[in-house]
Amino acid sequence: MRSIKPIIASNSLAIVLTIVLLLPITAIVAYIITSPLDGLMAKFGTWLHESRDWEFSVFDTQERFAKIGFAIRSIFIAVGISFLYFGVSNWLNMGLARVSSKNSEGRQSTIVEAIQPWIFVGPALVLLFLFLLVPALSTLSLSFQEADGARTSRNYAFLWDPAALGYEQFRYAMRNSLMWLILVPTACISLGLLIAVLADSVKWGIIAKTLIFVPLAISFVGAAVIWRNIFAGGGIQPQEAINGVTPSYQIGLLKSLLGHTAAYNEPLYSLQFWGNFFLMWILVWVQTGFAMVIFSAALRGVPEDTIEAATIDGANPFQMFFRIKLPQIYSTVLVVWTTLVILVLKVFDIPYALSANDDDKLLLATMMENARNNWSVGGDNVDNLFAAIAVMLMLTVVPNMIFNAWRIRREQKDMGH
């Protein structure tokens, strides 16, 4: 029997070419064909506007409805293209196999099955290759380049040279990262454990857990806005500043509890050094729910007989928790801890939203943003500097990566694959 390898190769090539040509063209054509939808939506908006007698300008309505039209067709086209890929490529694969196998069923299915796995994993691998693997490596190489491409280690000068751009900032960022790294996971884990234990022993525990869980759905910027009402303050005085004779309003709850007057306007998270802890608390507020849910499930998985044995031996609740339950969920605690550490190292939104330009609150991720936005006066190698800080960020994650890889490998072994 003649080798079918050439057939497989030529079929694959045909499929790849078709896809590469077909998908972009379809997308463009679909966008052009559907473009009247925006106008139709705008007309519909105008009609609605006039029949409902809305107060704001007709122009706004038209713009908004046109955008909704764009949204609808974008969503359909984007999703349609991804379905089209799988449909067309599989159909082509089978069709080509039928044609080239010369009616031999065995050959046909061999050809189909040789190509099919790559159709299935292809888009994922291509995307990961183009958007994660290659960029990560090219960032690494960028970080060792001058702006003109020459090799240099100058971009890392902030590590050792006090005169280098970012020297100060990097020290602040590392100091803060270290504080975040220790305090946030510790706080989330201890609070999560405490809540999981308490909530499982009272009747209204499920309500408590849901309420503590909700912040997990909220964006970090949203959380920043929410906590601004508590941590920021001052408050504009009524109508105009009136010297001392009128009540002075403090609008931040915590500031009011601390006895700050309205004249003292600085938000608590802007305090030198101590402000960091208020920013950390926002992350703790968001993430404790995550720790709690996982510990709650893990605690329920602790074998009954160990608990019964301990009860018979007369263990008090504290001994029960620290001697019996905690050791049995130790590995879960470790997993939660690594997840939180990775999250903390990458945290960006909270310090960016509340104290973007304050060196004292920098973390590596916000330092990157600062490098790109504010340091452009410092040289032409801003992008390379950005890359170098990104590499430092990566390095801080590496220990966790190794631990994770080890964990996943062990997991695969346990599952017998």
Binding site: P117, A208, F220, V221, P238
Partner: protein, 408 residues
């Protein structure tokens, strides 16, 4: 029994700390402009002393009088449809010149709070007010004074309204635009990765091809690569594609006449693709672990019946994997909806196309003196993910547990 009570108290305290910020958010968004910026949200539920400014009479109303009677509350609520002020008047801020006791014949400028029933000099007349808002303004000779604006302090009754929501949703363009943009970004950026990941996960679980296990390990280890590492090259790649598309556009269409050839490098499409790529490792990991756990006999009997992989996937695997698909879609939906950093670097930079987290971050600056608007906008941005989250909580928790506890 003391420990039982202690349990309830500690848990209640924690829940209280967790809930107070939400109360602050919603309360502030329901208050008026003045109330939200001059008093803390916790004062919104009880009568609270607040400052207002009212004019004694309308501008241009210059009929002469000896005695004018009026009501401060009526004056304050004249043009108001909502947040009508009610309560009891405490004092009025007096600013003006009085005879100086130290310098005979001279006057000095003072500011003091004048209580109920005490006369004060307003434009030469005698002004007396009561706590129910009634005021009497008496002149010795008939005169037509200009209206005077007075600052009044009122023990104000709680009042809430939806004006802030109406304002950010209708009068302000940014919030509706951000809402639509967030949907444009989030829906495809959730559906596309889940489609791609489901196919890949099936292949990694049940198909045999060279290098399968190695590729899977690489894919999963990409899960912890910080996305920041990829931003710069991805951005460069997109601007390359954009300039290429621009010249193609110039070649194919007559855009040069209208100068619309420029194709933006940072767009919704670039965000979809980037979010898809960044979401894939976790999606493939979760789905593959789920699919690999499905009963092998089921798949083998389908194979024997002559079904090919595509049929098995669409007819058998997808329906059986609904829980896993659901839990990843929630993850991805929440992650994309709440994402700030990817949108900041890769997403469209046009003001009308900004996604909600970026808009909200900007509003922290622009609305810093209009806290009711800031909080209303935050409520709107939060409500979508919270509804999704609460309605599909079961799947979310299942996904969390699958991602973190399995094999732990």
């Amino acid at each position: 029994m003391i420990s039982r009570t202690l349990k309830h108290v500690v848990l209640a305290l924690i829940v209280f700390i967790w809930v107070v910020p939400f109360v602050a958010l919603v309360t502030t968004s329901l208050r008026s402009d003045v109330a939200s910026k001059t008093s803390g949200f916790w004062t919104a539920f009880t009568p609270t002393e607040l400052g207002h400014r009212f004019g004694t009479h309308d501008k241009g109303d210059d009929t002469a009088f000896l005695v004018m009677k009026g009501n401060i509350f009526e004056r304050l609520n004249k043009d108001k449809d909502s947040y009508k002020v009610d309560g009891s008047i405490k004092s009025i801020m007096f600013k003006g010149r009085v005879p100086d006791p130290e310098n005979e014949g001279k006057t000095k400028l003072i500011r003091k709070l004048v209580p109920v029933n005490e006369a004060m000099d307003v434009r030469g007349g005698e002004f007396i007010f009561q706590s129910n808002g009634d005021f009497v303004w008496t002149f010795e000779t008939e005169s037509a004074p200009k209206p005077k604006n007075l600052d009044v302090f009122i023990d104000q009754d709680p009042v809430f309204g939806l004006d802030a929501y109406a304002e950010v949703l209708f009068a302000n363009k940014n919030v509706p635009n951000a809402l639509i943009s967030s949907f444009i970004v989030t829906i495809p950026a959730t559906i596309i990765p889940i489609t791609i990941a489901a196919f890949a996960a099936y292949a990694f679980a049940w198909m045999s091809f060279p290098g399968r296990d190695w590729l899977f390990v690489i894919v999963v280890s990409l899960m912890v690569v910080p996305t920041q590492l990829a931003f710069l090259p991805v951005l460069q790649g997109f601007s390359g594609v954009a300039s290429w598309a621009t010249s193609l556009n110039a070649m194919l269409t007559d855009c040069e006449s209208t100068q619309t050839c420029q194709v933006a490098s940072k767009s919704f499409a670039s965000l979809w693709v980037t979010h898809t790529a960044f979401g894939l490792p976790l999606a493939i990991y979760l789905l593959r672990n789920y699919i690999v756990g499905l009963p092998r006999e089921l798949l083998e009997s389908a194979r024997i019946d002559g079904a090919n992989h595509l049929q098995i996937f669409t007819r058998l695997i997808v329906p059986l994997s609904v829980p896993a698909l659901a839990s990843f879609s929630i993850f991805q939906f929440l992650w994309v909806w709440n994402d700030l950093i990817v949108a900041l670097y890769i997403g469209p930079s046009d003001a009308s196309d900004l996604v909600f987290p970026i808009r909200l971050q900007k509003q922290l600056g622009t609305f810093k003196d209009q806290l009711h608007l800031l909080n209303a906008s935050a409520v709107i941005s939060i409500i979508v993910p919270v509804i999704v989250f609460l309605s599909m909580q079961k799947y979310f928790i299942r996904g969390l547990l699958a991602g973190s506890v399995k094999g732990g």
